[in-house]
């Protein structure tokens, strides 16, 4: 792989950029791989990357029915934080955050990780207590978060209205290390690194069936033919129940639309990410200057990747209430993604009833921030058969009632 650097760009500039090589190859599938990962979203690509990097397993194919990064990885609002309440969540999200901090250097691809800080507003007494609890929990988890007063908050976010009138801001939960990254770059950076390790990223190839023998996986049927494997990782977010069905087991996943929108670009006016869960909206500013806005999910199951206007309306109202200047901006584009929701709103990283098949799904509305940590942990699980990071996220927890419920402290889990 030719490394990216300012010097490489300088050299190429002189010859009209004709010398750049492909970021990833476009191979035909081989007959057999040690490991097949289905789904070239962030989680699938990161799983493959750490299988190679940490365990030397590089005879790997990542199979994608569309274009890599085209699922929710390329549709989300890119909020990154690790100030989760429950221990297993804080562990995996903080692992992810730590990996994000060095990801550009690790992948030699600028993923524009921007630890600009993130604040979750408390607008009721109940929320104040909830976030104070999170601060206390985070302290014991080794995740640095702090409580900020409305005055401190106003300094950090000058465009905010802390005086209501409906829900005055009573303070906030602040994680300085939180922030955003460029979503496409995360997928592309991992894909390039995987391809460089000799892995095959196979796009436009849909998995149509799973082949098993004696309770063990032996391969997949795809639109580009049959491909054999020893181990199979299903990392297909909202389509996981479809794939699980092909392998003969069921998962407690519901698929619903989550929407987001951006404003037209304006000059920099907000340097942190703000989430306002009482009114149900959150906002950050992209490097391009667009205000990136998100809210809640539709309440009906759906696969269409577009949502109802009703939610856009609710979200925009919430933002205008919180940041009155938003009223004088325009909505440039709205879109939706299908998110995979589990019963406790926490992911599943698990072995399955079929030997050799592993699932990584259920990231729902908040899995972008987890990508590196999830890939790291999933690779460990697939390579070694167990991982402390995935242990609590086992799919059998629903049978035991061992939920990891994050909706406890905050309504939105983006």
């Amino acid at each position: 792989m030719r490394r990216y650097s300012v010097f490489a760009v300088a050299r190429e500039g002189l010859r009209y950029h004709t010398g750049w090589e492909r970021a990833w190859r476009s191979p035909q599938p081989k007959k057999k791989y040690d490991v097949i990962i289905v789904g070239a979203g962030g989680h699938g690509l990161a799983t493959a990357y750490y299988l190679g990097k940490n365990y030397g397993i590089t005879n790997v194919a990542i199979i994608e029915k569309g274009w890599l990064g085209g699922g929710n990885t390329g549709r989300n609002t890119t909020i990154i934080r690790s100030n989760y309440l429950q221990d297993p969540s804080a562990a995996i999200y903080d692992k992810a955050l730590k990996l994000y901090e060095n990801l550009s250097q690790d992948l030699n691809y600028n993923v524009m990780f921007s630890p600009r800080g993130l604040i979750m507003l408390a607008q009721t007494h109940h929320e104040v207590r909830g976030y104070q609890r999170t601060v206390m929990a985070n302290q014991l988890q080794g995740v640095a978060t702090e409580w900020v007063t409305p005055e401190q908050l106003k300094k950090l976010v000058p465009i905010i209205n802390i005086h209501g009138p409906r829900y005055p801001v009573m303070g906030g939960l602040y994680q300085k290390r939180g922030g955003t990254a460029r979503h496409d770059a995360v997928a592309w950076g991992y894909a390039r690194a995987c391809s460089d390790m000799g892995m095959d990223v196979i796009q436009q190839c849909e998995v149509k069936g799973v082949r098993t023998e004696g309770g063990k996986v032996v391969g997949v049927l795809t639109t580009k033919g049959d491909i054999d494997c020893d181990k199979l990782g299903m990392v297909v977010a909202g389509h996981t129940s479809v794939l699980a069905e092909m392998a003969g087991f069921r998962l407690p996943i519901e698929s619903v639309a989550l929407q987001a929108l951006v404003s037209e670009p304006i000059k920099p006016c907000m340097d942190v990410v703000v989430m306002a869960n009482t009114v149900h909206g959150y906002m950050s500013q992209s490097d391009k200057g667009e205000m990136v806005i998100g809210g809640g999910t539709d309440s009906f199951n759906n696969y269409t990747q577009r949502g109802s206007f009703h939610h856009i309306e609710e979200t925009v109202r919430a933002l205008v209430e919180t940041f009155p200047m938003v009223s004088r901006l325009k909505m440039l584009r709205q879109w939706g993604g299908i998110v995979d929701m589990t019963g406790d709103r926490s992911p599943i990283l698990s072995k399955t009833p079929v030997d050799g098949i592993f699932v990584n799904c259920g990231w729902g509305t908040g899995g972008f921030k987890a990508i590196p940590g999830s890939g790291w942990a999933m690779a460990e699980l697939m390579a070694k058969g167990h991982s402390p990071l995935t242990q609590e996220f086992d799919m059998f927890r629903f049978r035991e009632g061992k939920f990891i419920d994050e909706s406890v402290a905050a309504g939105v889990a983006h």
Partner: protein
């Protein structure tokens, strides 16, 4: 030089001059001008700077597709960035400032980026700025953010208002060009309820500009006649300045009406958002002309050919004195004819087609215009405006044949139907090789619940370009004066063999500075999917959403990949069609009306008596009644002590009240609650718990049996709507055959808790016909009758541990009863108390609070509430879940009381660490606090918490963390701190 012509201008009113300000300079225009036409009339060619290279930019289009002419507009609370000059109508006093430059439009420091342009190709930032690590956050990113972004940030609160409007129609026609008018006429005549929306102020679209004759009438006259016919039909509504911005599932459409944007007088709502439910949607949205990709096609003075003639015909302005037309189709010849007829010079038409145009060629020849066939523009000359073009062979690589001096270039690369609305809900497209355009495929339309198409297209939106074909598509056979056109020849790059130097100067996306070379680079680097290319290069992601650039970019991509255009495919079309204001989306729901505050009947009394308000759900509740000289904390303590010693009143009206009635009501409540409710005697009260399917406690409250078949269920304040919805969910989806009726009557009643040793005395002072004695009205029962003059239900229940009554009266009597109680209780020392006192009173008694002791992960057993779970019932919601292994585990944290050793208050949210760390390096924990308060009654900090094996560890001292890292020691005790035997509530 661009200027106002002596005559022409069908839309302007020369008798009404208008003044406006551009970058502080005073300019003049006329009523009917757009900002763009008025700027041309004042010879303002350069209007802004591009996003990345800060290149000088001028207006290129005349409508919604304009990518360049965006302005900071207005002042103060009416300031708004990124206003598009081509769709903004001029009004007196309008002020604009150009964007994205520093210090000025003419001298922009950011323009140095142009010098480095060759090192800033698509995606350069992915390859650079990687080292050293801290530099991205502290140096590179702030710099990039500062140079990116377009308009300025609004500073003040929006001074305008907005509203929503609901509309239902059989047929919605979008677009007031001839196709839309004809379609609306046809549907109107068929008796349908029709709504026609036109985004601009004016009707007729292209036909009126092009001067077509329809059945011997001028298009103008045809349009006026048709409009008159439509306006005469009572079943047809026609609205201008109203853009259909998005099509959503089930025939839902948003109309974005701009009411005052074109007026000096800003009174009244600014925008009105129409929320339309249409039986069928016909999009007659026309087509948009495509630019041609040649070097320098972004220099101010290069415009779309149709826009150049729009400016002459509609607004009487010429973009330049000498205009070179460059085209691959016949349509642009019209521009040459119109310019020539307006007395302007057209030195040449450069036609990329070797065979040239059809019969229209003869017309231009008659006017003496030179036509260069098979030729192309190698390069446009000029910096801040066009000074000439270099001509070459289209088939070649760009060797210059001749230079032509000019100050305007009118380009046309063909037309693309506006398929956005068709596509929003999944309408599919076919590629038409001959016309080089994507056309809607009627066999793959968006479908509704009945499986039938709910969107269709008509006219140019279907891909028809001649007036006769357009009207035929709308069901009208007409004759026109149009001549047949020779076929267009797709030209995606000009000249076709342009080398890298030229390609680096051939713009595709003007606003985002994406050039032909960028798309080719993306393809070379493997970003082959059209979505990858778009995202890697940012093609089509600017505020115009690629209306001009998408097809051209797609064609370059498919060429680079050696694939056909339809195989490469388009990116997804997302609403809105053009950006709509957040203000309009918000409508009236802002400030006080953003989630209207629910007020109890006693609200005004509280407000007048020192209420410190707390938002709870949609309600405002009194946290405490603060008297002069008191802190909130003092007030809370005073209120608590007064309840313990005398009597207090609490406004409990916000508690949810749901009537459940019917033959199966008892059976239903037995499923809903963990307790048995069917056996509750009439006139009796029972405290009940509700769990969700996962077994977790979701709400609690007192259930009262009002009559044989009627129960009244109290819920928490926040729970009323949720629990009512939950009940209906089960009744409608699962137990639809059960005979049960529910009604949420929360707001129909005012409820007052009267608590304290003197509570009975107080009520008795009001008089009435009810026996309130201990024997006559025992604990956990209720009576109905007259309390003084009030119609009351009184429940003998207690959430404070004191002798307590909850008095419920019709909402209309609430304020009077409250006042009567304060008056009658004066000598008993009555005081109102707020929610915080209520919380502490209950905590002193060890009563749990939903939302404090519970958080969605707690089962009743964790809170030692086994007594409230009926053993006799076969089933209730959550029962099965509670039997799962982890729920039954003895290791679950259980409720205990906590007393700090030093009497201090444990901080909210505090945890109890346990020795050691888990495999992920996190500190082990063994419990946490759930409610923690200073108890004025006990004069010390008290708390409840959940602790592993807690009830077995009575007397043990454990440690809680604080935010500053220190610890608080507390002893595990019984959670009932006060009046353990419950003697006080039972007197």
């Amino acid at each position: 030089m661009s200027t106002r012509l002596a005559n022409s201008g069908r839309l302007i009113d020369r008798s009404k001059p208008v003044e406006f300000k551009f970058n502080g300079k005073r300019f003049k225009g006329y009523e009917g001008d757009t900002l763009a036409s008025a700027l041309f009339a004042n010879d303002q060619m350069m209007v802004g700077r591009s996003f990345k290279y800060h290149r000088p930019r001028g207006v290129v289009a005349s409508g919604a597709e304009e990518p360049n002419a965006l302005f900071n507009m207005g002042e103060g609370g009416r300031f708004e960035p990124n206003q598009r000059a081509t769709t903004q109508e001029l009004f007196d006093g309008l002020t604009i400032r150009s964007q994205n430059h520093w210090p000025s439009l003419e001298f922009d420091i950011g323009a140095v980026n142009q010098l480095f342009a060759r090192w800033l190709p698509a995606g350069f930032y992915y390859k650079m700025f990687i080292h050293p690590r801290p530099f991205w956050k502290h140096v590179y990113e702030p710099f990039i953010r500062q140079s990116a972004g377009l308009g300025q940030v609004p500073q003040e609160k929006d001074a305008d208002t907005y509203e929503h409007f609901y509309y239902f129609c059989d047929v919605l026609v979008v677009g007031g060009g001839i196709a839309g008018l004809a379609a609306a006429l046809k549907e109107g005549q068929a008796g349908k309820k029709v709504l026609l929306l036109e985004q601009t102020a004016d009707f007729g679209g292209r036909a009126v500009v092009d001067g077509v004759e329809i059945d011997g009438k001028s298009a103008e006259a045809w349009v006026q006649d048709t409009l008159a016919a439509l306006n005469a039909m009572p079943n047809v509504t026609v609205r201008n300045r109203n853009m259909a911005s998005g099509v959503y599932d089930h025939g839902y459409v948003l109309g974005y009406e701009r009411l005052t944007d074109h007026l000096s007088d800003k009174s009244g709502p600014r925008h009105r958002l129409w929320r339309i439910r249409a039986g069928h949607i016909i999009t007659a949205t026309g087509a948009i002309e495509r630019p041609l990709s040649f070097a320098g096609n972004d220099i101010p003075g290069v415009l779309l050919a149709a826009a150049v003639r729009d400016y002459v015909v509609n607004w009487g302005v010429s973009v330049g004195d000498r205009t070179v037309v460059v085209t691959n189709n016949d349509d642009a010849y019209r521009t040459a004819i119109i310019l020539k007829n307006a007395g302007l010079a057209v030195p040449a038409i450069i036609d990329a087609r070797a065979s040239g145009a059809g019969p229209i060629a003869a017309e231009v020849e008659k006017l003496g215009i030179r036509v260069l066939k098979g030729k192309a523009i190698a390069k446009v000359k000029g910096k801040t405006r066009v000074t000439g073009v270099k001509v070459c062979l289209q088939a070649g690589e760009g060797s210059v044949i001749e230079e032509i001096a000019c100050d305007c270039v009118a380009m046309s690369g063909g037309w693309s139907p506006v398929v956005h609305l068709w596509s929003h809900c999944g309408g599919k497209l076919n590629w038409d090789e001959d016309l080089a355009m994507f056309r809607p495929d009627p066999s793959r339309a968006p479908t509704g619940a009945d499986g039938k198409a709910f969107v269709s297209t008509v006219g140019s939106a279907s891909g028809y370009l001649s007036t006769a074909d357009v009207l035929k598509d709308a069901g009208l056979e007409v004759t026109t004066n149009e001549v047949a056109a020779a076929p267009l020849e797709p030209v995606w790059l000009m000249p076709q063999g342009a080398g890298p130097k030229l390609r680096m100067k051939a713009w595709l996306d003007y606003q985002n500075d994406v050039k032909v070379s960028d798309v080719q680079l993306a393809a070379r680097e493997g970003y082959e999917s059209v979505e990858h290319t778009k995202r890697y290069t940012t093609l089509g992601m600017a505020t115009d959403q690629g209306k001009l650039s998408n097809i051209n970019g797609l064609a370059i991509l498919s060429k680079s990949l050696d694939a056909s255009i339809p195989n490469v495919g388009t990116t997804t079309f997302r609403p809105p069609y053009t950006p709509i204001s957040m203000g309009a989306i918000t409508g009236a729901a802002r400030d006080e009306l953003f989630q209207p505050i629910h007020k109890t009947p006693m609200f005004d009394w509280h407000d007048a008596n020192g209420a410190d308000w707390e938002p709870v759900g949609h309600w405002r509740r009194t946290y405490a009644y603060v008297r002069n000289g008191e802190t909130v904390h003092d007030a809370v303590n005073r209120e608590i002590l007064n309840v313990r010693e005398n009597v207090g009143t609490l406004d409990a009206s916000t508690l949810g009240k749901i009537i459940v009635k019917g033959p199966d009501a008892g059976k239903f409540l037995d499923m809903l609650y963990t307790n048995m409710m069917s056996t509750l005697g009439v006139g009796k009260c029972r405290y009940g718990l509700m769990c969700n399917e996962n077994g977790f406690l979701s709400d609690d409250g007192v259930v009262v049996r009002l009559a044989e078949d009627t129960w009244l269920c109290h819920t928490t304040t926040g729970g009323a709507d949720r629990i009512h919805g939950w009940m209906e969910d089960w009744l409608q989806c699962e137990w639809w055959d059960w005979k049960v009726y529910t009604a949420n009557v929360t707001e129909q009643f005012a409820q007052i808790a009267v608590a304290g040793p003197k509570a009975r005395q107080l009520l008795e002072k009001l008089g009435g016909n009810m026996d309130l004695s201990k024997e006559g009205f025992p604990f956990m029962t209720y009576v109905e009758g007259k309390l003084g003059e009030f119609d009351a239900r009184i429940f003998r229940i207690s959430f404070s541990g004191e002798l307590s009554y909850e008095v419920s009266v019709p909402a209309s009597q609430g304020a009077a009863l409250w006042a009567a109680l304060q008056e009658a209780g004066k000598d008993l020392g009555v005081m109102p108390y707020g929610t915080e006192a209520m919380h502490i009173l209950r905590a002193e008694k060890g009563f749990i609070m939903i939302g404090d002791e519970t958080d969605g992960t707690i089962i009743p057993q964790d809170l030692n509430l086994q007594w409230a779970i009926s053993k006799k019932k076969e089933d209730y919601l959550g029962k099965r879940a509670q039997e799962r292994s982890f729920m039954a585990s003895p290791d679950r944290w259980k409720l205990v009381g906590l007393e700090t050793l030093d009497g201090s208050v444990i901080p909210d949210g505090s945890y109890v660490p346990a020795p050691g760390y888990n495999p992920n390096g996190q500190r082990n924990v063994q419990g946490r606090v759930t409610s923690t308060y200073y108890s004025p009654t006990l004069k010390r900090g008290i708390a409840m918490g959940l602790v592993k094996h807690g009830p077995d560890r009575m007397g043990e001292v454990i440690e809680f963390n604080r935010e500053d890292g220190t610890m608080v020691k507390a002893k595990i005790v019984d959670p009932v701190f006060y009046d353990k035997d419950g003697e006080k509530q039972n007197v």
